[in-house]
Every structure is written in structure tokens, then in C-alpha cells.
Amino acid sequence: MNQVFDTSRFGLLVRKHWGDNRGKYLLSLGAIASLLLLWYGFLNIIETRSAMQEDGQIVTYYVGLFITGSLYASLLFSDLANKPKAINFLAVPAAQLEKVLVMILYSVFIFFVCYTVIFYLVDFLMVKLNNAIRLASWEDQFHEAQEVFTPREVANVFYRGVSDGTGPHFDPLAMAFTLFFGVQGAYALGSIYFPAYSFIKTTIALLLLALLYVLVIAKVLYPILPQGYFDDGLTSFYPYGINDPNSEKLVEVPGWVGQVVFGFFRYVLAPAFWVITYFRLKEKEV
């Protein structure tokens, strides 16, 4: 029997986790659906004409994903703060790796799929409802004589290419999507580091990191650079007076640096948090 990972044991653990938490999870998904319904209902009541625009749907998706995903991740190892629950968790005859992988499976994959399915179910319903309400009152609303009714579409929350005229080249949603898994990993790690008030403490820790980032730019980078501004991330710096992107830039780090930073956020951050979580779990004592 492999002491680090065994597929049949992992399967048993997945089954046990579902069996122990089924009720809680189904209730949580119901709560997410209810909150989305309430929010869209509120938007439709206060301003039917502008509600359910694609941008609004995308913002709703990501705000909901970040809040509920972070909250859920911050509760992942909350059992370890409670002695009886911690003993119950640590004493199950499965490897630490399997226990972390089960958490990743439920919090990263299953949560994400369930949230997205619920979002689209509610979104689809509310877009249809909004179209029906707007169509019913179309004649009473102010519009140009030749203007025809345009129904709202269900938004694609995963792709929104920003075009520079030659075709889509940058997708801000890909970054948001990527960042989500990193943030979620941070909250999962926070749930082990901070036994009590994990969500609040992790949020404070992340805000402090963001503050540190701003301070480094303001107090370290700006003083050593001439007066100017960053453009296109932190890889190009334009001194004041040179606004033409084609002109020679005073400070420009190699393109690969930007790619490495983006790659770090995209591919390294979330796995790194989970690896640290694994080692923290191994060290956990009750």
C-alpha cells in the first residue's frame, strides 16, 4: 500500500468527504443561487432597462466567484481550529497528500463547476425574464422610431478579448480567472494559519501585501526613476513628455520579465499556496 497516494483510498476519502458534508454543501449552493436571484431581482426592480447587460453579468459572476470562493476556501481547514474536529480529520487513515487533494478537488474544481452552473442557470432565467419585461413595456418606453427591440444575451464570462483593431489580443477575464485560483489558494492556506476568524485575517494579510506592493512602487521604484509613469504593467516606464509608444522608451525591462510575472500569477501562485498548505497540514498538531 502506497503511503503517499493511493487511488482507492483517495476515492474513499472523496466519498467520505461528500457523505459528511453533503447537507452543508447543498445548502451553500442553494444560498448562492438565492443571493444571485436576489441581486438580479434587485437590479431588475430598480432599473429594468439597463439591468442584465453583459458587463453587469460578468462583474456579478466574478464578484460572486471571488467572495463565495474565498469564503469557502477560508473554511476548508477550519476544522483544525476545533480540537475534536481536528482529531477526527487527522486520524482518518489516509495520507496527508490525499487529504489536501480532496480539499483541492472540492474547493477548486467542484466548487468552481457548481458555482458556474448555478450562475448560468440563474443568469439565463433572469436574462429571459428581463427580456420579457422589457419587451412587454417596449411600446411605453422612450426609443427612436426605427429602433428595434434588442434582447439581452447571456454573457460569456470566460472570454472578452480587447481589440486593438487587429483582433482580440488581451483577455482581462483570463487574468481575473487566473487570479481567482491564487486568491482561493491563499484563503485555503489562511484557514490553516489562522485558526480563528480565518477569512478576516487572510483578507487583512492580503491587503497588507497589496499595501507593500504599492509602497515598493511609491517609495523604492519612483525615487530612482525620472518623473514619469508606468504603462502596460510595470515593464515599461515613460518619462513625462514622451507619450508616443513608438518612441524610444527610457526604461523598459525585457518582455520575458512581464511574461514571467504573468506566468507566476497564472501557473505558480495557486499551486504554491497549496504546496505550503500541504506542509502546514503535515506539521499540524492537536
Binding site: 500500500m1 503511503q3 493511493d6 483510498r9 474513499l12 466519498r15 467520505k16 457523505g19 459528511d20 458534508n21 453533503r22 447537507g23 476545533n82 480540537k83 475534536p84 474536529k85 481536528a86 482529531i87 477526527n88 487527522l90 486520524a91 482518518v92 487513515p93 489516509a94 495520507a95 496527508q96 503535515k282 498538531e285 492537536v286
Partner: protein, 277 residues
């Protein structure tokens, strides 16, 4: 089976063990006695791999508990004093958890549940603390792990349940199992344990088998003041003086665990001298 060598362990402000060594063999029910806060639970949690020694070593069947390997965890079951059971039906809990223990026996579990008179159709959340504890004890026994650790198992059990507990435990031990029961309610373990280990302030004050105690010590009520004066330990009671003396005539008396415990904790020297003579 369990070999503890020079165990040093402490919490931030308090040292609990400073060089504790202990060997536990299969086929016995060990009674770990001691006052509250003397390190009984800490010792059990070190054996279970829930706490890690600062120094020294713990070996359980060739495993280092702190590594918490699955092969180790499926050989050790712990019934903690404060425990958690998920809010699901009893049978669901059993079907979720039992596959992790290769020697789990459903028939045995059903028998224990019947003996403990647990309403099987109930959800765990609707059961009382005592009923939940009996479920956990039944489950732990039915897992047939080589090492069974029980921390204050009789806490929260009513008088009938305590007697059921003793009955169930007596039938559950075999030559391959090592059961360690920690308690400060020594009366609850009478006629159950076959070896007594008393710890205090992280030290082992006394560690003897029941057979050895029966051979070496005599427990009785005495009205003879001379005999009371000569006793290794005495305590006045409504019935007379409860005394412990050296067993010189070879007749075995019923061991009064509580009296022995008090004798060891208050002044262990006379008792030890009886064993060394």
C-alpha cells in the same frame, strides 16, 4: 508494540514529560491513571501521532506516529475525551469511515450497538453525548485496530452505561490488541484493566500488572489499630479503616484501585518497597 523512549514534551509554558519511557505489549488493557492535567491525554495524543515529541522517540508497531502514515493510522483508533461525529445517520457514518479500517467488522459493531442500546435509526445529531460516545466506542472496538486509545471513555456515561462499557470491553480484548485507557475515575476500570500505570507531573509513579498487585498487596477493612498503624496506607471510612498491607499470607484480595491510586499519589515509597521486597 508501543515503545516510548526518553519522551520529552511540553506546551509553550509548561513541560509535561521530561524523559518518560514506557513499553506496552499486546494482549493487555492498560489503565493510565492520574489527576487532571498530569499528561494522560498528552501521552495518548503523542502515541496517536496528533502531537510530536520534542525529544525522544515513540515507536508504535514499527511506525513513527508523527508521520501519520495511513498504514499506521489504520492500526490505531483513538476515542478522545472531546470528540466529533458528523451530523449524518449512524449507518452513513459507518459506511463512510469503516472502509478505511481493513479489519472493521460490521457484525461486531451491531452487537456492541445492541449491547449499548443505541437507537440505530437516529441521526447522530439527535443522540445524547453519552449515546454518541457509545457509538464511537463501539466503532473503535469494531475497527479491530492493534492499538486502541481511550481518553476518559466513561466520562458522560450513566451508571448503566458504565457497566455496559466494562462488559463490552472485557469481551473485546484479544492477544493481538493493546488497549490503553486513560482516566481519573479509577473505579470505572475495576475488573477491566490488567496493568496499571499511574502518571503524575509527567513521571510514571507506578507501573504494575494486576497479578503482581494481587500477589504483593492486600486490601481490606480493618478495625485493629495496630494493623492500621503498620499498614502501607490507610484511610478511615464509615465501615472502618480501609488499609493496604503487604500480602504475606499469599491470599489474593479484591484490589481497591481508588485506594491504591491514593496511596501511590500521596506517598508511593511504602508501596514500592512492598514490590521490591
Amino acid at each position: 508494540m508501543v515503545n516510548i523512549q526518553q519522551l520529552h514534551f511540553g506546551y509553550r509554558k509548561k513541560k509535561v514529560f521530561t524523559g518518560l519511557s514506557l513499553q506496552l505489549q499486546p494482549g493487555h488493557i492498560y489503565g493510565l491513571l492520574g489527576k487532571n492535567g498530569t499528561g494522560k491525554s498528552t501521552l495518548l495524543r503523542n502515541i496517536a501521532g496528533l502531537l510530536f515529541p520534542d525529544q525522544g522517540s515513540i515507536d508504535v508497531m514499527g511506525f513513527t506516529p508523527g508521520k501519520r502514515q495511513p498504514a499506521f493510522l489504520q492500526e490505531v483508533f483513538m476515542v478522545p475525551e472531546e470528540f466529533y461525529l458528523p451530523n449524518i445517520p449512524l449507518q452513513a457514518m459507518v459506511s463512510n469511515l469503516s472502509p478505511f479500517y481493513p479489519r472493521f467488522n460490521q457484525q461486531q459493531f451491531d452487537t456492541y450497538i445492541r449491547e449499548f442500546e443505541i437507537p440505530v435509526e437516529n441521526k447522530l445529531e439527535s443522540m445524547s453525548y453519552g449515546q454518541k460516545k457509545k457509538v464511537l466506542i463501539s466503532f473503535g472496538l469494531a475497527c479491530n485496530t492493534s492499538v486502541l486509545l481511550m481518553d476518559e471513555p466513561t466520562n458522560g456515561l450513566d451508571i448503566m452505561s458504565k457497566s455496559q462499557f466494562r462488559k463490552v470491553m472485557a469481551g473485546a480484548i484479544d492477544e493481538n490488541k493493546c488497549v490503553i485507557i486513560s482516566t481519573h475515575q479509577v473505579k470505572d476500570l475495576e475488573n477491566l484493566i490488567d496493568r496499571i500505570t499511574i502518571i503524575d507531573e509527567g513521571d510514571i509513579l507506578f507501573d504494575q500488572t494486576i497479578d503482581a498487585i494481587s500477589r504483593k498487596l492486600s486490601f481490606r477493612i480493618s478495625f485493629d489499630q495496630e494493623e492500621v498503624k503498620r499498614a502501607l496506607y490507610s484511610e478511615s471510612s464509615l465501615r472502618g479503616n480501609a488499609i493496604i498491607t503487604s500480602n504475606t499470607d499469599g491470599e489474593e484480595s479484591k484490589i481497591d484501585l481508588e485506594l491504591l491510586y491514593k496511596a501511590i499519589v500521596t506517598n508511593r515509597q511504602p508501596i514500592h518497597s512492598a514490590f521490591n521486597s
